[in-house]
């Protein structure tokens, strides 16, 4: 059994880099330090992967050689007047770079999955700007952590433990002690009330004030965690304070907070159902911290208002920086979605939704973003890399995608790959192939290769390079 240390987990945007992997007979047999999601990927990857590329013939997917699949893909892309190239967030930066070259060569639209997650954040960041930092800095200094519209306990399971509230920083104590104290306090209260109930022989009810900051910040030295969400998530359960907002009212709440941070009075008594007094308490907490961080998730970017919610959040942090040090960071989902934005920007100038159809890169989300193009039925071929749009796009968009010729490069069998015309089973980046990925704070990390891929499963980069060579050969005649 071979032990490989400091392996990077290719699942979420946290890119935990302390994983230990045990390999026996070219198979991962045990992992340490991962969350449940990472463990499941390392131990069960490739269970359903097809051994060879597939090409649809007479309505059925038949096995074919790599050369044949590459030729068919190149034909589809060169014949197309408006192809889309989508995915890119779960593959390496090297593959994305080749993908961009391919998009330019075939005059297509290239878009990554930020179009359905943090695309609006990017638009607002371009409008307002972003004061951000690395996760290492937060770990050592942040004393107030706010998660707005994101649930790291479910989506980035080790984020709180490694980078924020429950991590022990050099200059900032971890918040786990106050969490334990709060938990035991709750337990004691429950037991005492039970004893009282037994003595008094009647049921006791304690009125719970819905919106009030907890009176106990016993240790001012410890980090505080505030969660703002539409429902009580698992993260909210460990938070020092949880503010429940009505769905689709984040914009109003953020704007009201901005006014309070700027020492202005609100004329209303409550904002979106939240008493202004509660918001004043929260604004006080934000101003009085030494080093605050606001993490926002898809709850902000994909609810009503979209980019303008993020606009308000970024402006709030800008206003807070007049009073104290405050930073903001989007909670990126896929492990290399930040890398996709970085490579897109480095190559074309734009982070996503890039249109090469005129020969030069153009960018106008809404016009050149993949979901909108598909919903208007404008594309006539598609290439999907490491993504599953058929499962999560609107039905009308998915219909256009599968009605036209579709190429899928994905190690997994997904609804998209089952409806494709050409399927390349590829190697898993970070397990069977090396590659670079960017963590959510824009820190590039080198993913390791721990096992050998099966013989017919090439890395995404290699498959794309072969398609690109074939496209160029066809173009030159």
């Amino acid at each position: 059994m071979r032990k490989i240390e400091n392996v990077i987990c290719p699942v979420c945007g946290s890119l935990c880099d302390d994983i230990t992997v045990y390999v026996e007979d070219n198979r991962v047999v045990e992992v340490e330090n991962t969350c449940a999601v990472g463990r499941a990927k390392f131990l069960n990857y490739g269970l359903h992967r097809k051994p060879k590329p597939l090409i649809r013939k007479n309505g059925e997917l038949k096995e074919a050689s790599i050369e044949e699949a590459v030729r068919r893909s190149a034909e589809i892309l060169t014949e197309s007047k408006y192809p889309i190239l989508y995915g890119w967030s779960s593959t390496s930066c090297e593959a994305i770079r080749v993908g961009l070259e391919l998009a330019e060569e075939v005059g297509g639209i290239i878009d990554n999955t930020s179009t359905v997650c943090h695309g609006p954040s990017i638009l607002s960041i371009q409008d307002v700007g972003i004061p951000s930092c690395t996760l290492g800095q937060l770990r050592h200094r942040a004393d107030l952590v706010i998660y707005w519209g994101s649930d790291p306990y479910s989506a980035h399971p080790r984020h709180i433990e490694r980078y924020t509230v429950f991590s022990e920083g050099r200059f900032q104590k971890s918040g786990w002690r106050s969490f334990i104290r709060r938990l035991s306090g709750k337990l004691v209260k429950k037991r005492l009330s039970r004893v009282a109930e037994l003595i008094l022989r009647r049921k006791l009810t304690f009125p719970e004030e819905k919106y009030a900051l907890p009176p106990y910040f016993i240790s001012e030295e410890e980090r505080k965690l505030v969660v703002v969400d539409v429902r009580k998530t698992r993260t909210a359960e460990v938070a020092d304070y949880f503010l429940q907002v009505k769905p689709n009212t984040d914009y109003e709440v953020l704007q009201a907070l901005r006014m309070l941070v700027n020492d202005q009075d609100l004329e209303v008594d409550e904002v979106a159902g939240i008493p202004v007094r509660t918001l004043e308490d929260l604004a006080d907490l934000m101003i009085s911290c030494d080093f605050g961080i606001l993490f926002f998730g898809v709850g902000l970017t994909m609810s009503k208002g979209k980019l303008r919610n993020v606009d308000a959040a970024l402006s709030l942090v800008r206003d807070l920086n007049k009073r104290t040090k405050f930073l903001i960071m989007p909670m990126r989902g896929h492990y290399n979605v930040t890398g996709a934005n970085v490579v897109f920007t480095w190559q074309t100038g734009y982070p996503y939704a890039v249109d090469f159809s005129l020969g030069y890169p153009r960018y106008n989300p809404g016009e050149t973003s993949v979901v909108d193009i598909l919903r208007r039925g404008e594309c006539d071929a598609g290439l999907v890399v490491a993504s599953d749009p058929v499962s999560n796009f609107p039905a009308s968009a998915a219909k256009t995608l599968v009605d036209n010729p579709l190429i899928v490069i994905d190690p997994d069998v997904t609804p998209t790959s089952m409806m494709a015309d050409v399927v390349f089973p590829s190697a898993y980046i970070g397990i069977e192939a090396e590659g670079t990925a960017y963590r959510m704070d824009h820190v590039p990390l080198r993913l390791k290769k721990v096992v050998e891929p099966p013989p017919n499963c090439l890395p995404d980069q290699e498959i794309l390079a072969r398609i690109l060579r074939e496209v160029r050969r066809i173009r030159r005649g």
């Binding site: 409008d127 109003e252 901005r258 609100l266 004329e267 208002g305 303008r308 159809s357 016009e367």
Partner: protein, 279 residues
């Protein structure tokens, strides 16, 4: 003297035709116009391959006239940067109609796509149907939207009408989506119908007049007065109107006029108005 254009077939991919402007056409002969370059998806085409083009006796007081008939819903950048003349479109117009327009007149007897008159500086656009999002807005990442001219929409508009607007006039006689006048720095927007809310978000200057119902106002607006009428461009619109200022989160001085009669739920704001002194 003018030009008549109609599409030869229904397009399935976007057609980029920045050349369809009176400025370009008026200086060229018909044969030169026929050979102008347009893009159909990623293919370069000549105008004559996609469109039926002929000359005709179309005149208007604005000067050189282009008469367009048919479905142009996939044709983008019609009247891009035009400064003179007139375009009359009977049918559906695509995105970016009259972008960066400086003068002249575009009339659409049908619907138009998003980004109608974005970043326009002068001239007039009149759409008799509905329009999409970002009417009179700015290009992505730019803070300079519409700076002059006039956009009149007789149907409905979608979200972020007049985003980053700095001057000029937008009139929508139907209803609009949310974030009307987002980041507005100047100019006037009038909405005849109802809105989806968040009107004037983060505006710093300018004027928004809403004659229909608003579901709610942003908490960052402050009531100033009740006005009997308000001026929109050259005309006076009879009220009464609640006058709000904002967006206070941006220290804004924008004016938001909301019809009093159509918004009885805003009556609670009246308590914040200072009492009138009786002599």
């Amino acid at each position: 003297m003018g030009i008549l254009i109609s599409p030869k077939r229904l397009f399935d991919v976007p057609v980029h035709a920045r050349c369809i402007t009176p400025d370009t056409f008026s200086t060229l002969s018909l044969s030169e116009i026929l050979n102008l370059e347009v893009h159909e998806g990623n293919r370069k085409r000549k105008l004559k391959e996609l469109f039926e083009v002929s000359t005709g006796p179309y005149t208007s007081p604005e000067g050189f006239t282009i008469w367009m008939k048919g479905d142009f819903s996939k044709v983008r950048y019609i009247g891009y940067g035009m400064s003179t003349g007139k375009i009359v479109l009977e049918g559906v117009a695509g995105m970016h109609l009259g972008e960066e327009m400086k003068g002249g007149f575009i009339q659409v007897y049908g619907d138009a796509g998003s980004w109608v008159g974005s970043m326009m500086q002068g001239g007039r656009i009149e759409v008799f149907g509905d329009v999409g999002d970002y009417t009179g807005a700015a290009y992505r990442g730019s803070g300079r939207g519409m700076r002059g001219g006039e956009i009149i929409v007789h149907g409905n508009a979608l979200n972020e009408t007049g985003c980053y607007m700095r001057g000029g006039l937008i009139k929508v006689y139907g209803s609009v989506g949310q974030f009307t006048g987002m980041h507005m720095h100047g100019g006037t927007i009038m909405v005849g119908g109802e809105t989806e809310g968040r009107d004037g978000a983060e505006m710093t200057k300018g004027k928004i007049v809403i004659l229909g119902r608003v579901p709610s106002l942003l908490p960052t607006f402050k009531i100033e007065a009740i006005k009997p009428r308000v001026k929109v461009g050259e005309e006076r619109v009879e009220g009464p109107f609640y006058m709000f200022t904002g967006d206070l989160a941006e220290n804004g001085e924008g004016k938001l006029y909301v019809s009093k009669n159509n918004n009885p739920h805003l009556k609670e704001f009246e308590k914040y108005l200072s009492p009138v002194k009786v002599k």
